[in-house]
């Protein structure tokens, strides 16, 4: 079954659950092997042109920003992004020519991405946050759809592939959204071990759903810890290793966003992103922060600096509940 469908004017990604299951059976190892690689290798091995990518949270909070910058550095093409909150990421991915389609969610920030949509440089599909979260849950549960009592009565229904059926139990109209099984999930976490067991502290959008539903999962982690840590406190495990394909050690991997209880958002840098209004400004930002550095560590050394990182760490004083 084709993985991109078009019905009427609406294109959507859809895998037959059996096709996804076969991928899980054949391509996902259950062996607890060392999957630690650098961001460059993770992205070059596990992200292909044309891939559908989801990620958890945003450029403001615990987003996988180091991985996204690496995608841009490697000039991936024709990506389709699915995100509940896609903020500066989508602007950068579109500005760099990497992404051509976005399923949202909440599409912000700044004028660059809004203008790109109006110019037809990127196609946006509107699923709403709840609709996307449910699509990924359907993908994680191995069912072709899940039902919901929203989207109904609105124009979102017409610009998505959601469908209304008559509920056999009550007779009322119920909305169905199709399962989403992305090619790749990016998840930035507080702690991981080398085989991929991972912990997020605090809330998440759909981390476990995305890990179960995605063909390939790249975890980037602030800290690499002993595997035994997970077995000592299984209630804290967000994702077990056998869902994960690659582990990247990426301290400050959510920069310029915040990592709860680790470092605060760099609002100055975020304002530079907010200020991007045209392609020239976009190109300048990309050159300076992405193309001109070899990777995440050089970016941190030359574009952020230890003093700034220290200050951002200092500001993250709320640790209650995050441990």
């Amino acid at each position: 079954m084709s993985r991109i469908r078009r019905e009427g004017k609406v294109e959507y990604r859809f895998d037959h659950p059996d096709a996804f299951r076969a991928h899980v059976r054949d391509k996902k190892s259950r062996k607890p092997v060392d999957k630690l690689v650098d961001a460059k290798e993770a992205v070059s091995r596990f992200v292909n042109d044309g891939d559908y990518i989801v990620y958890d949270f945003s450029s403001l909070t615990r987003g996988p920003q180091a991985l996204i910058r690496e995608v841009i550095r490697q000039k991936k093409k024709e990506l389709w992004i699915g995100a509940e909150f896609t903020l500066h990421e989508s602007a950068l991915l579109v500005g760099a020519g990497c992404a051509s389609r976005i399923d949202v969610g909440f599409l912000g920030y700044g004028n660059y991405i809004g203008q790109a949509v109006c110019d037809g440089r990127v196609q946006v599909y509107e699923w709403t946050n709840g609709g996307l979260a449910l699509r990924i849950l359907a993908g994680a549960r191995g069912v072709p759809f899940l039902p919901t009592r929203d989207l109904l009565g609105t124009d979102n229904l017409d610009v998505s592939a959601a469908r209304v059926i008559q509920d056999p139990y009550t007779g009322m109209p119920v909305c169905l959204v199709p399962a989403l099984n992305p090619d790749v999930a990016f998840l930035h976490v507080h702690q991981a071990d080398v085989s991929g067991d991972a912990r997020i502290f605090g809330t998440n959008l759909f981390a476990l759903e995305a890990a179960l539903a995605s063909r390939r999962v790249i975890v980037s982690a602030e800290e690499i810890v002993e595997a035994d840590e997970f077995r000592k406190d299984p209630m804290r495990t967000t994702i077990p290793y056998f869902l994960v394909d690659a582990v990247v050690h990426a301290p400050f991997g959510a920069y310029p966003g915040s990592m709860p209880a680790r470092y605060e958002i760099d609002l100055e840098h975020v304002d530079r992103l907010n200020a991007i209004r045209n392609d020239e400004q976009m190109q300048r930002y990309l050159d300076e922060n992405i193309y001109s550095v070899s990777g995440h560590e050089e970016f941190l050394d030359k574009r952020v600096g230890a003093a700034r990182m220290k200050e951002l760490r200092r500001r993250a004083t709320i640790i209650e509940g995050y441990r």
């Binding site: 004017k9 949270f57 945003s58 403001l60 909070t61 615990r62 509940e84 909150f85 949202v104 969610g105 909440f106 599409l107 912000g108 991405i113 809004g114 203008q115 949509v117 109006c118 037809g120 946006v124 509107e126 709403t128 946050n129 709840g130 609709g131 979260a133 449910l134 849950l137 919901t148 009592r149 929203d150 989207l151 109904l152 009565g153 609105t154 124009d155 979102n156 610009v159 209304v164 109209p173 119920v174 909305c175 605090g202 809330t203 998440n204 959008l205 759909f206 981390a207 476990l208 759903e209 915040s258 709860p260 209880a261 958002i265 609002l267 975020v270 709320i318 209650e320 509940g321 995050y322």
Partner: protein
């Protein structure tokens, strides 16, 4: 001469919103201004309100000052009762546990339908594109009472939306139920920078209830592209109180990121 109060249109909307909430009720908080409304309300009026954010924070008590750009971080998930994820957050609302929801809007129509997606053109090729629903569609679909918070400008109050992002009463009485939306839900109030609207019980049309002290219903209606219904008695809305303004300016948003806006005055 009577003393006057100076404030911004945003401050006025926030203060109005905060006064609408009920204590000991649940409140699904949209992003941006509704966050500040929730903080102000909980500090001043409704200490036992249970806030809920779509990113999985159940019952947080946000820390002050409000930090711009935080979403799901320690500030606005502080001292939550429970941390979950988005699918669980929307279970709380879908199963009927959310009393109030509050949303911003680009445009609103006489039935309280909301556009937050685009203005002009078509969905595929919009004139101007905005953030879209986020979780707004779910909030407006599931919560018992949805409060819309919107700047009072004529181009925002239109007879027909460019795009229906989140449902109000759709085409009128019974339309939500016919579409399959949960029974007895829908828009409850529209808070603007000049007035407060409700919805007529019978016709489900937007109805002017109150205007800012010193303004007249005509001042309000003049700046709308449709004519709302008018309540039999129009009450007066007090401008932001000293307590509200002090808390907003000194404790909640000292950098004036959210509360800035057009300057307004009203009799104290």
């Amino acid at each position: 001469m009577a003393r006057t109060v100076e404030f911004t249109d945003t401050e006025f909307m926030i203060a109005q919103g905060a006064r609408l909430l009920e204590d000991g009720k649940t409140f699904f908080v949209g992003w941006g201004i509704p966050q500040v409304v929730a903080i102000l309300a909980q500090k001043l009026y409704v200490p036992d309100v249970v806030q809920l954010f779509e990113f999985g924070a159940i019952g947080p008590q946000s820390i002050l000052p409000f930090v711009r750009g935080t979403m799901g971080g320690p500030q606005n998930t502080y001292r939550s009762l429970q941390w979950l994820n988005m699918n669980w957050a929307f279970s709380y609302s879908a199963a009927g546990y959310m009393d109030y929801g509050m949303l911003g809007a680009l445009q609103v129509d006489p039935y309280g339908n909301i556009n937050s997606t685009f203005l002009g053109g078509t969905f595929e090729k919009p004139g101007r594109r905005f953030a879209g629903s986020g979780g707004g569609n779910q909030v407006a679909s599931h919560c018992w009472r949805t409060i819309i918070i919107i700047k009072h400008e004529g181009r925002r109050f239109v007879p027909k939306l460019d795009f229906v992002t989140s449902p109000g009463y759709l085409s009128g009485p019974g339309a939500r139920e016919r579409a399959g939306l949960p029974k007895d839900t829908g828009p409850y109030r529209v808070v603007t920078s000049k007035a407060l609207f409700g919805f007529d019980e019978r016709t489900k049309e937007m109805t002017l209830l109150s205007v800012l002290r010193g303004a007249s219903p005509d001042d309000v209606i003049r700046e709308m592209a449709f004519r709302p219904r008018i309540a039999k008695e129009i009450s007066e809305i007090a401008p932001p109180t000293e307590d509200e303004l002090r808390l907003l300016r000194e404790e909640i948003d000292p950098s004036r990121i959210i509360i800035r806006g057009e300057r307004m005055t009203a009799p104290a």
